[in-house]
Symmetry: C2
Subunit: 119 residues, 2 copies
Amino acid sequence: MANADFHGCPVRNVLDRIGDKWTTLILLRLSREPCRFSALRRQVPDISKRMLTLTLRNLERDGMISRTVFPTKPPSVEYALTPLGRSILGPLGALVLWADERFSEIRENRTRYDALEAG
Amino acid sequence: MANADFHGCPVRNVLDRIGDKWTTLILLRLSREPCRFSALRRQVPDISKRMLTLTLRNLERDGMISRTVFPTKPPSVEYALTPLGRSILGPLGALVLWADERFSEIRENRTRYDALEAG
DNA sequence: CCGGATCCGACGGGATACTG
DNA sequence: CAGTATCCCGTCGGATCCGG
């Protein structure tokens, strides 16, 4: 297994999750209401079936979301946040807020930096 | 340029940074006091010169840290948080706290999930 | 409808050697 | 001391096809 030296670091484990491409978007979507697979696909634009499945599996493995199968025909599956999953919404929301407030400033910094580099 | 569709999303831009392997560790280290290149290398275990340089450059480009060159011989360079960089410590700290509090629970969930998969 | 299996390109990041 | 340049490999993630 790779990165064996990081298995014991809580911060790295959490950042590896929320830092990936889709996890945060899924969590934010599920924070509004439980959601089925197909509905998630439509509401999280551009995600592939493969990555949606993998992201949901990882979140389920961590105990952040629950997976409920309804034996209808064809079957339907509903995903919802667990208490553990809901508990990260606070810290995550603070970060999202920070991003919204400061991003224009960051973007200005980047263009200015890049302009100086070009000269 | 890749991921052109994400350039306008504040959340993705921020998560792409703090989600990478070293940025958060650097920020936390600099939150205690300004620090020189070599000191950072020693205090952030296992980081390579290459990745330390790249991470610092990205943070400087975003305006999160400042870079001050002292024309001594040999030269020394000091990195420090800017006000913008300091402003993310709150949200980041909340996340780190959450990680520390919940990681044991997450790890138990993972081992239980993996045990069921194996059976 | 909800996935799993496979193939493949792109990118992050480590190791190493060189520079001012 | 503080980087830069090059090579290389593992992983992430998209596309596609197959199955219950």
